[in-house]
Symmetry: C2
Subunit: 271 residues, 2 copies
C-alpha cells in the first residue's frame, strides 16, 4: 500500500490519531476494480476522486499522472489480480478547518467479497429508511448511518437499505437504484445521490435499447415497477425483488435486469 | 496519551488505516476540561461517553474504574493543568459492521484555545444553516458539515453556525443554544440535539431564578428574544448578539447572560 509519500506493507501503514479522518470524520475516497491487473474505468474514478476532493477543499498532493504511476506500481508489486484499489484522501493533521495544509493520501489494494451466486440468481431484498446522506454528490467516508443500521437490516430480513426522503427514493448506502417500468423504461433517481460509475456506464449502455430517465422516483413507483435492480462497483448489477417485504413485479429477477447483467458483464470483462 | 492498551508519546500514537474511523467515519468521543488538574463534571462526561458507545453498539474495553485510573495517570504524567481530555472510541479493525470485536480506545490530553475576550465581552454572530445532525443524541466524530461550512461562515461574517430544520432551531456544531425571552424565561431546543454537559449544568443552576423550558424553538422566537447565548465545554457561555446579520435584543450581551456567565464561572472555577 501507499501512505503519504511511501510504499509500505499493509501492517506498517498507520496514521496519527490527530488525522482529521479520526478526529472529525473528514475524508473522501474512491474505489475501482481490476479486471486481471487492468483498472476498470480508471479515468471515471479519478475524475470523481478529484471532484470529491475539490468539493471538500482538499488539495490532492499528487498529479493525475503521479497517482496513476503509484497505482501501477502497487498493482505490479502486490500481484493481486481481480481485486480492488481504494484511493483515499483525509483532512490530515495540523489544520484549522479553513485550509488543509497536509492532507493524507492513502492508496491500498484490497480483496473484497464478490456478491454471492444466490444474490445474483435470486435477487436481493431492500428495506426503506428515511435518511438523506450529507453532501450526497461527494464520496465521503461517512457511512455512519449504514453501519448503524446493520441490526435493523437483520431484524427486517433485508439485504440492504434503500434511503428515501420526503417520499422520494435516493440510493442504497453503497449502490444506485433503478426501476424498470411496465413499458421497459429505466428510471433512476437523478438528485441527491452519489452518481456511481457503474450507474453511468449502465445508463450509457442501456440507452441504445431503452428509454432511460434520471429524475425523482417516488416510493409508489417502485410498487408499480416491473423490475428493479441496484448498481455498484463491487456488485455491478444485482436484481432487487422485494422492498419492505413486498414483491417487486413477480418477485423474481426480471428479464431486462438479467439481460443488462449479461451485457454489462461482457462489456467490462467482470463475471 | 493512551492508545489501545498503552501509554505513548503523542507522536508515537498512530492507528491502522483500516480502523473504521478512517475507513467509514464510525467513532464517538467525549471531551472534558480540567480545573487545575481536577476533571470538571467527569461523571457526566463518562455517563455520556458510555451512552454514546452503547447507542453505537461499541463495547468499551475498560471499566469505568479503569478509565478513571488511566485519566488520572495521564494527568499526573503530562502536567498540563487547565487543559482538556478527549476520550475516543472507534469501530476499530477487523469487523463486519455487525459486531465490533476490537474497538480502538484513544485518550489524549490537549491544550485548546480559550474563547477570546472580544467574544466574551462583545458576543458572537451566528448564521443559520438548514441541516440535521445524524444520530444527534450521540457524540460521534461526524463534523463533516461543520468543517465543510467554514468558508461560508467566513463569507457570511459570522462566528459560528446555528443549525435548523423545518423552521425549528437545534444547535450549533459544538454548542447548545439558548434564548432569554422578554419575561426572563430561558428556552433551549429539547429534541434532535446533543445534550451538552454545560447545558445540563446551566439549566440546573439557572432554574433557581428563571423558568427554563426545553422544547422546540422556532426561528421567529429568536428574532423576538431579548438575549441569546450558547453553551459548550470549551466555551462555557458566550453571548450571541446576531443571527443572520440581524441583532438579537439590543445587539449587546444581555444582563441575564452576563449574570449566568459570572455565576457559572464561580460554580465551575473556570474563568
Amino acid at each position: 500500500m501507499y501512505l503519504k509519500d511511501r510504499f509500505l506493507k499493509d501492517n506498517e501503514a498507520s496514521l496519527s490519531y490527530l488525522d482529521l479522518s479520526v478526529q472529525r470524520g473528514y475524508a473522501i475516497f474512491d474505489f475501482f476494480r481490476l479486471v486481471g491487473n487492468q483498472p476498470l474505468h480508471l479515468q471515471d474514478h479519478l475524475d470523481r476522486f478529484y471532484s470529491s476532493a475539490e468539493q471538500m477543499r482538499l488539495p490532492i498532493p499528487k498529479s493525475r499522472g503521479e497517482l496513476k504511476q503509484i497505482i501501477k506500481e502497487l498493482i505490479w508489486e502486490n500481484e493481486l489480480p481481480d481485486s480492488g484499489i481504494r484511493v483515499q484522501l483525509t483532512g490530515g493533521e495540523n489544520n484549522d478547518g479553513q485550509e488543509f495544509i497536509s492532507p493524507t493520501l492513502i492508496i491500498s489494494q484490497i480483496q473484497f467479497p464478490f456478491p454471492s451466486s444466490s444474490l445474483l440468481e435470486n435477487g436481493m431484498r431492500l428495506m426503506s429508511y428515511q435518511y438523506q446522506r450529507q453532501l450526497p454528490q461527494v464520496k465521503t467516508t461517512d457511512y455512519l448511518m449504514s453501519i448503524w443500521l446493520q441490526p435493523i437490516l437483520k431484524d427486517g430480513n433485508a439485504d440492504d437499505i434503500l434511503y428515501f426522503s420526503g417520499g422520494i427514493i435516493t440510493e442504497s448506502p453503497r449502490s444506485n437504484f433503478f426501476i424498470v417500468t411496465a413499458e421497459g423504461k429505466l428510471i433512476t433517481p437523478g438528485a441527491n445521490v452519489l452518481k456511481g460509475i457503474t450507474r453511468k456506464n449502465l445508463i450509457q449502455m442501456a440507452s441504445t435499447e431503452h428509454a432511460v430517465e434520471e429524475r425523482d422516483v417516488r416510493m409508489e413507483e417502485v410498487a408499480a415497477a416491473r423490475e428493479a435492480f441496484i448498481t455498484s462497483t463491487t456488485k455491478q448489477i444485482i436484481p432487487v425483488v422485494q422492498l419492505d417485504g413486498k414483491m417487486i413485479g413477480d418477485g423474481k429477477p426480471g428479464s431486462v435486469t438479467k439481460k443488462l447483467m449479461k451485457q454489462l458483464g461482457e462489456r467490462t470483462g467482470l463475471h
